[in-house]
């Protein structure tokens, strides 16, 4: 029998502990196990030949010289893949995508052939020896061109496709919104382009596919954020039975949504392995990653706010055109063609709204939903905060005050947005107040005025938003027909140590550290006594992976639920050990005790031992269980980001003075890790606003397909961040946590852009498309005109 627990939750690494990361031990020693680190006996290497042109008929492919190179084992073309029904594959958005081009190439960088050889150098030699004859066709590089009446049909492979429209979508109440606009005193309009970006984790995509003819089992080590989705997709595409496919996602060098889709390279590697009966490794290079894998954003907005003179927003409406590239391959819940873009304006009390959206096929890589976007919420919140800034300016109102008037108040929860979302909690005004105090708002406005007298341009930008995380409940959310729950399996061993597996897949978020903290919180088992594994479909319970900041809200909840199931059984064991009935047993961290005699208790470890060696009659032995969590609702973190900048009017260069971030993501399991996520997101917000984008010239040549042109900020440019915290627990999550991984990438960019435009407020410029490169800022200042960044550009 044990004495009173006196366990310190922080001391055992429970909820709220900034526990040092378990993962670090191997990463700092260079002992990570990333896909390219894996070597299997007999493994061969695959390289992909990509199209140099954006839109062309393939007249001929001559692979004869490639086959002659010593060390080349297989040269695969679209024609060969077609013989096995694998030249095309279904996408996660119910379209089809070419695995290897057959009739046409439809974007620069598209996969045309692949070569398998003894080593990657030889495989590359093989690719260089393939001769392809192309007959160029006109290229389409933006939706306007795509929807023009005389535009060439890009998807002439699809029966019944008579134009370049990919989808059309609509939500909201048009009639009520039109009425609101008729009654408006002021209508604020804004059009902008959220440019194409790319998640670009440092590690590129890759796979080691190993089909064993002896066992007929396919094992694929793959850079994937969602191994079970991949297994389902591979079963579909390769027509192999699901139980004979094992997907292993080892250490992943960053995901950010780039590693969710099924890429042609994976399919080719699998097919080559099946054909050759040996393991085949495919690791793409950075150029391949940037030019062909799931990009992000590329959305055009035209929108308006209906305003009352006192500052109240009466209604909102906008149209969004998305550039989907050559194939509709977005990884997003299947009912939502444009993700959760209709979560825009959820933090504001607006009675009515209407959104229309249309997707276009273009001659570019497929994608759109990626890069910490929470399913297009980045686009939604960017447009929201940009038009909020414009509206405040139109009304001649202070932008903080304008937000204060319109933000949903604490007493309004639960709040139904005009587009059907239910937000359940938040302290929006409080976060705004903390942000304004931290940046010393009034003082900055005085400094700005003073600086203007000396010709210096200072600016301040605010961005406030709540965003939907934790997709999602089974009524509305599915991918490929599979509901978006998640899972956890917990096995407590006889000595009270444990192993936990979930259906999520960490790519740097620290699950091995934080999930153990949840177990510590629920069971009082020290976090260090819990090992966490993810990513192997043979051992992990079925889950939908990690993206859209869904892990803490869904998988984390499953961890809490399974731990509670374990605790419920342990309670019975405790009653048995203490020789009392269950109703007389109380719980405190790590210990059950008799209510009327608190000195008499048993530790959770003693219960674990009893589960294997001293069970009550009739009880199943063991202390292991699993849980599948179907979230009742999305979670709704809130953030307020405030940025101050100084703009050099002669060069257009702008420097960040300060970045203040106030994040309310509910209960924080590991504050250190939460802050790391916020800083990572803020950096991406800075990157997108300052230098980072992909664009195209009129011929469809991609500008931004390598790190010379696709600019990621270094430690030198990246500003410092001041982080603040508010905690409004999520009312439906078992731990009150909301998730945070993407918040800063979602809300951050508008703060930077609003700040620069505020510095330029005397010029009358209303919009500069991101990234606000020095030359664009200068053009705006000099011309007094808005600056668009939409393609085509001069290369």
């Amino acid at each position: 029998m044990t004495n009173p627990s006196q366990l310190d939750e922080i001391g055992i690494g429970g909820l709220g502990a900034s526990r040092k990361r378990v993962e670090d031990a191997r990463f700092i020693r260079g002992r990570g196990n990333y896909v390219d680190d894996i070597t299997l006996p007999g493994m061969l290497h695959m390289e992909i030949l990509r199209s140099p042109v954006a839109h062309a008929r393939i007249k001929s492919i001559d692979t004869s010289k490639a086959w002659e190179i010593p060390g080349v084992r297989l040269v695969l073309t679209g024609e060969m893949a077609a013989q096995r029904n694998l030249a095309w594959m279904p996408t996660l958005s119910y379209d089809t995508q070419a695995v290897l081009a057959t009739d046409k190439v439809r974007f620069q960088g598209q996969e045309v052939a692949c070569v398998v050889a003894d080593d990657p150098y030889t495989a590359k030699d093989g690719c260089e020896a393939i001769v392809v004859e192309y007959e160029p066709l006109p290229a389409i590089v933006n939706p306007r061109q795509a929807h023009a009446p005389d535009a060439p049909i890009i998807r002439d492979d699809k029966e019944g496709q008579t134009d370049n429209t990919c989808y059309a979508w609509e939500v909201g109440d048009k009639a009520a919104t039109d009425r609101a606009f008729e009654q408006a005193d002021v209508v604020s309009k804004l059009s902008l382009h959220y440019p194409r970006s790319h998640p670009s984790p440092i590690e590129n995509c890759g796979a080691v596919a190993s089909y064993d003819p002896a066992t007929e089992k396919l094992t694929v080590y793959m850079t994937t954020q969602a191994p079970h989705i991949i297994r389902a997709a591979v079963a579909l595409v390769a027509e192999l039975p699901e139980h004979m496919i094992r997907i292993v996602s080892p250490d992943i060098g960053g995901g950010f949504g780039n590693k969710v889709p099924v890429y042609p390279g994976y399919v080719c590697a699998i097919l080559c392995s099946i054909l050759l009966g040996t393991p085949v490794k495919w690791i793409e290079d950075k150029s391949g990653n940037l030019i062909s894998t799931g990009f992000a954003r590329d959305m055009y907005f035209d929108g308006e706010l209906a305003l009352r003179r006192d500052g109240r927003i009466l209604g909102v409406r906008f149209h969004a055109d998305t550039d989907q590239g050559a194939f509709f391959s977005d990884a997003q819940p299947s009912k939502f063609k444009i993700g959760l873009v209709h979560s825009a304006f959820a933090c504001y009390d607006i009675p009515t709204g209407h959104i229309t959206a249309r997707g276009a096929y273009t001659n570019k890589a497929p994608g759109g939903v990626a890069y910490r976007c929470s399913f297009r919420v980045t686009e939604a919140m960017f447009f929201q905060e940009r038009i909020i800034a414009a509206a405040a300016a139109d009304l001649g109102m202070d932008p903080a005050e304008f937000r204060r008037i319109n933000l949903v108040r604490d007493d309004q929860f639960p709040y139904r947005t005009p587009f059907g979302f239910l937000t359940d909690s938040g302290q929006y005004q409080k976060c705004l107040d903390i942000g304004l105090a931290a940046i010393d708002y009034e003082q900055f406005l005085r400094e700005k005025e003073e600086a203007a007298k000396h010709g210096r341009l200072l600016g301040i930008g605010i961005s406030t938003m709540t965003e939907p995380l934790g997709a999602g409940n089974s009524r509305e959310y599915d991918i490929l027909g599979i509901k978006m729950f998640d899972s956890a399996e917990l096995r407590v061993h006889p000595t009270g140590k444990a192993i936990l597996r979930t259906g999520a897949k960490t790519q740097g978020q620290g699950h091995e550290t934080t999930w153990a903290q949840i177990v510590a919180h629920e069971l009082g088992i020290p976090a260090a006594d819990v090992v966490v594994e993810e990513g192997d479909t043979d051992t992990a319970p079925f889950g939908m992976g990690t993206y859209a900041s869904r892990s803490t809200p869904v998988a984390g909840a499953a961890v809490a639920m399974v731990a509670r199931k374990i605790r419920a059984k342990a309670r019975k064991l405790a009653a048995h050990l203490l020789e009392v009935s269950e109703e007389d047993v109380e719980w405190e961290l790590g210990r059950f005790y008799i209510r009327s005699a608190p000195d008499r208790g048993v530790s959770i470890q003693e219960c674990a031992a009893a589960a294997y060696g001293n069970m009550p009659d009739g009880m199943e032995p063991g202390l292991e269980n699993n849980a599948y969590y179907d979230p009742p609702n999305l979670t709704w973190p809130f953030a307020c980001y405030i940025v101050t900048v100084e703009v050099d009017p002669e060069s257009g260069v702008w420097d960040v003075l300060r970045v203040v971030a106030v994040d309310d993501c509910g209960v924080r399991i590991n504050p250190m890790i939460v802050e790391g996520q916020i800083m990572g997101g803020l950096t991406e917000a800075y990157a997108m606003s300052n230098m980072q984008f992909i664009t195209f010239d009129a011929d469809g040549n991609c500008v931004g397909s390598n790190y010379m042109d696709y600019l990621l900020p270094t430690a030198w440019e990246t500003p410092g961040f001041e982080l603040h915290e508010v905690v409004t627990p999520c009312p439906h999550h078992p731990l009150g946590a909301k998730g945070v991984g993407e918040c800063a990438a979602v809300g951050g960019p508008a703060a930077f852009v609003n700040a620069v435009l505020d510095a330029l407020s005397d010029t009358g410029v209303r919009n500069i498309d991101m990234p606000l490169l020095p030359d664009r800022v200068w053009e705006a200042i000099n011309s007094g005109q808005n600056v668009s960044g939409a393609p085509p550009v001069r290369s």
């Binding site: 030699d125 230098m691 030198w716 440019e717």
Partner: protein, 285 residues
């Protein structure tokens, strides 16, 4: 990411290197820092038959005054210049060195190699033009010294004759009080210059004895703005002189409109940076 095949030799003497170049001619490329050459070879933009690695040649890593000029050996790395304590009389070089590429690339890349590579967005060529430097080449016909302006003959083209190696750069010792500044507009560390400006002055009291002005990234090659130099020489950097020099520099620039900006923008940056560099001079009004 995977180069095509090539042969490789690492001679241990200058004579050995020259012999290889004589034998292989155009098919051979000299490998010094390799921070421009190897990336091109990896992407198969360059497919030489032979790489002649000169990193083993002795006594080429120096930078010091020899025979009345600052001489920078072919294996003197950017980082050596960045942390040099011997560049007091060449402040333009001290100003430019930290802005080349990024810190790790600077450990290997060389000034001489950079000038030979003749990338119009390369920074050192502008420095050399502004300082009236030259390249020392050696080859079958012995040693010759080629002024920087004649050494770079076009984008990625230099005046080395078949069989020649550039073994050093020479920069004159200033007679007056030297001032120099390199201003580079880059979107981020490691990016090529949107526009770069090299300004070097020799002063006697408040008077400019000689001036050097050269531009990066705004033409088919780096541009020496002789007109601006002439306007500055003999002046006391009066505001109207500074303005005229800046105007002439902008006029001499031949930028292309591309994804780094319009031609007008780049000219404006040139004008702004020349002005700012001159205004940083201790004697500027």
């Amino acid at each position: 990411m995977y180069p095509a095949r090539f042969r490789y030799e690492a001679p241990e003497s200058l004579g050995g290197a020259l012999e290889l170049l004589r034998t292989y001619g155009e098919e051979a490329k000299v490998l010094a820092g390799g921070q421009s050459l190897i990336p091109m070879v990896k992407l198969r933009f360059a497919t030489p038959e032979l790489l002649v690695d000169i990193n083993g040649l002795p006594d080429l890593g120096y930078h010091e005054v020899r025979d009345g000029a600052l001489e920078v050996g072919a294996l003197c790395r950017h980082v050596d210049l960045e942390y040099s304590t011997g560049l007091d009389r060449w402040p333009l070089m001290a100003s430019a060195a930290p802005l080349i590429a990024d810190p790790i690339v600077r450990n290997r890349g060389t000034l001489v190699g950079s000038v030979c590579h003749a990338d119009p967005q390369g920074d050192w060529a502008s420095v050399m033009l502004a300082l009236n430097g030259s390249i020392v080449a050696t080859g079958p016909n012995g040693r010759r010294v080629v002024p920087a302006g004649e050494f770079v003959t076009g984008p990625f083209q230099n005046a080395l004759l078949p069989g020649e190696i550039a073994i050093a750069a020479r920069i004159p010792v200033p007679t007056g009080t030297p001032f120099g500044r390199y201003l580079k507009l880059e979107r981020r560390v490691g990016d090529f210059a949107t526009a770069g400006v090299a300004v070097a002055l020799e002063l006697a009291g408040r008077t400019v004895l000689t001036a050097g002005v050269a531009l990066t990234g705004v033409g088919a090659n780096n541009i020496k703005v002789v007109a601006a130099e002439q306007v500055l020489a003999g002046s006391a950097l009066e505001p109207e002189v500074v303005e005229e020099a800046a105007r002439l520099a902008a006029e001499a620039a031949q930028p292309r409109t591309d994804h780094r900006g319009s031609a007008d923008y780049k000219r404006h940056v040139v004008r702004t940076f020349v002005t700012r560099a001159l205004e940083l001079t201790p004697v500027a009004v």
